[in-house]
Symmetry: C2
Subunit: 423 residues, 2 copies
């Protein structure tokens, strides 16, 4: 079989590994230049949090041992609020951690590995059209035929546009009215590096991932109008995120030089045409980044599609309900990160959740744990979390009712006793 893949990001490159390992002929077309040649990948997130789903997908390709040295473990979340920091571990076990990795390091490894297995990469070559029936892709005016085409070409997928042409395609695309800007932080002495750092700030938010060189990649999320109104970044940080300011040595220069990133969410269908064309990753389910699952779900797609190469329809049918749930969760987590993360109630609930997980090992799993530290399908994880919550409410009601009943019994006993005595 000859597979034509559009897009050499994490999803396209990992799928190339899987397909090449099965002995298929694989060609990957990527409009950007070869990331191994060190050109900048403008407009993309440079730092990512790898969690259980991504780890499993990389393990299956036999790559995790080579990925691990490229990562920095993140053992929990450090929340910076009101001049103080608090640490919230991600889980109850040592394995329940995230791994911070540079996008370029990961993609480079994947491309090298796929290349070693015989996949061919064509950089700087943009797919401009698709013949879904052939199937074939047009690259610089030339039609290239294959047995199947994979669209791994991101949230604004060209493959998807042409796949959907003339079909009854549902498509939901939404931009958050928040933009983001990436900035480099340098850890000061005593700064806890092995964690994800969060500065909640009302309608704004900073999230920072650690790198291996004592730096962190920080992302400032802010409503567009506020972001565009910043003329003096140092004054802005001094006012809104004062404890982040000392960590940003190049703030003014980077703020001026770095572009404003956009946050888009995409839900869409169909993902496939017969067994000829299929979409993976952001091309079929782009999510807001606030659950840290965008890349992880894309890598998981590769694993699931690899098990369903004989039926793209089965892949879509099984997978789409789960990525739809991920879309919801990613929206909700933005509110959580911006606002609730700093509240004592939220911290108490998180602690109670982890305590229950310790008391009921294997039976109580916080939603965040299931999403980030297991490969339980997203919708199943949400359903289970809802059951747990119902159980908790029921339990609380039962305890309340029990206490009430006990009080009543006591009262009744007293009355009965009194009655007896009065006889």
């Amino acid at each position: 079989m000859r597979y034509l893949i559009a897009g050499a990001g994490p999803a396209g490159s990992l799928l190339a590994c899987y397909l090449a390992a099965r002995g298929h002929r694989v060609d990957v077309f990527e409009r950007r230049p070869d990331p191994r040649r060190g050109d900048d990948e403008e407009g993309r997130s440079i730092n990512l949090g790898l969690s259980a789903r991504g780890v499993l997908a990389l393990e299956r390709a036999g790559l995790m041992d080579r990925v691990r040295p490229l990562t920095v473990p993140m053992r929990g979340r450090v929340v910076h609020a009101a001049g103080r920091t608090s640490f919230h571990p991600y889980g109850t076990h040592d394995e329940e951690i995230l791994h911070s990795v540079l996008r370029r390091d990961l993609v480079t490894l994947l491309i090298d590995h796929a290349h070693g297995l015989g996949a061919r990469f064509h950089f700087g070559r943009r797919v401009t059209d698709l013949d879904r029936q052939a199937p074939a892709v047009q690259v610089e005016g030339e039609w290239i035929h294959g047995d199947a085409v994979v669209g791994a070409d991101g949230a604004f997928s060209t493959i998807r546009t042409h796949l959907h042409r003339g079909l009854r395609a549902d498509h939901h695309q939404e931009f958050l009215p928040w933009g983001y800007k990436e900035l480099t932080m340098i850890a000061t002495p005593g700064f806890r590096l092995e964690a994800l750092h969060v500065w909640p700030g009302g309608d704004g938010l900073i999230v920072a991932h650690p790198n291996r060189d004592n730096s962190l990649t920080a992302t400032l999320f802010l409503p567009y109008d506020e972001l565009e109104a910043i003329t003096d970044p140092e004054a802005f940080f001094a006012g809104r995120f004062p404890d982040a300011l000392p960590l940003l040595p190049d703030l003014a220069k980077e703020f001026a030089a770095n572009p404003v990133g956009h946050l888009v969410s995409v839900r869409t269908t169909p993902w496939h045409h017969e067994n000829k064309v299929v979409l993976i990753g952001d091309a079929c389910h782009a999510v807001y980044p606030f659950y840290g699952q965008g890349m992880n779900s894309a890598l998981e797609d590769c694993l699931l599609l690899d098990a369903s190469l004989d039926s793209f329809a089965a892949f879509e049918t099984a997978r789409r309900p789960h990525t739809d749930v991920l879309d919801e969760l990613s929206r909700e987590n933005f509110v959580e990160l911006r606002q609730r993360v700093a509240s004592p109630m939220h911290a108490a609930r998180k602690r109670a959740d982890l305590l229950l997980a310790r008391l009921l090992p294997g039976r109580w799993r916080p939603l965040y744990t299931m999403i980030s530290h297991t490969t339980t399908p997203y919708a199943d994880a949400l359903a289970r979390a809802r059951k747990q919550e119902a159980f908790l409410r029921w339990g609380a009601a039962a305890v309340t009712a029990g206490l009430g009943l006990a009080a009543l019994t006591k009262l009744a006993g007293r009355n009965t006793g009194h009655a007896h005595r009065s006889r």
Copy 2:
């Protein structure tokens, strides 16, 4: 000013009337042939229900006197269920009626009128690209420049696609899993022509509009899989809609010949670029047809845009919240038409609604009345309907509480009386 309009449907043609009447230079590009030359407009609804919003927009263009003779009044809804028919008037006043009109009759009148005012129509000429900054449209490889471009080119608007290119555009496009087929009904003796006819049928539905020649245009809505499974239309109707069968003399032939129509809903933003490009009608808010407001809202757009030609931004800001509400209402009404319309409870509620409207003239207005027989903006109508419902619930609660209080007072009185007597 020179306006370039893409699309010569009801919205594009009416806007051409308005703009030409203001003395602007107007060019309308339409990819289909001239409807006045009698070629079939494939894939479009051939019969429409004109209501208050559309009527007002046509009146403002001075056209209603010429439109009225083309219409058939629909004074209410006839529901056909279980071998019986029931008539439900649309309102409490004689003016609260709908007007059934053939799409081609209306569009022909609008084009003739706009043409008489100096607008130029270019049929069989497809707009293939937009330069939103110029602004200019590409037609058959030639760039045509104007002062403003209007996209009135329907749910799959080319103007919209190019308007949104590279912008942070939100776009929600959804197909119902129901298709439709249009069929010709011939009224049998005694058949009430001046009404909209509805055959509810679980997951299927027939809606029929009367024409001036004793025929009706019937639309069968059915889930795709069921629609595609029909091999013998007469057997299907005999089983599912037996009382519609005698009205369909050409059923087998028409069923085979007529294409399956699709139902798409579109919510999107932005609708405009500076004061250079603007969308109207289905191009920016396509709705399911079940509230009968698709064309009416498009004609109303013309009226509102005509009052806001100096600010396309103001037009979008003021209008979009209302068409978003219309989208919701149109979805909900599909369930109502298919399922609830045949239930006695629903009929009773409708009657109670009209009764309240008669008892509280000008103060109680059923939602359907506000949407179809007034020009109250859609979201305002919904907000008012919700207030009325809350009032009704509060009223019911007050009545219940009052009755309870009365009973209690009576009881207390009795007890007190008894106490007095016992003293």
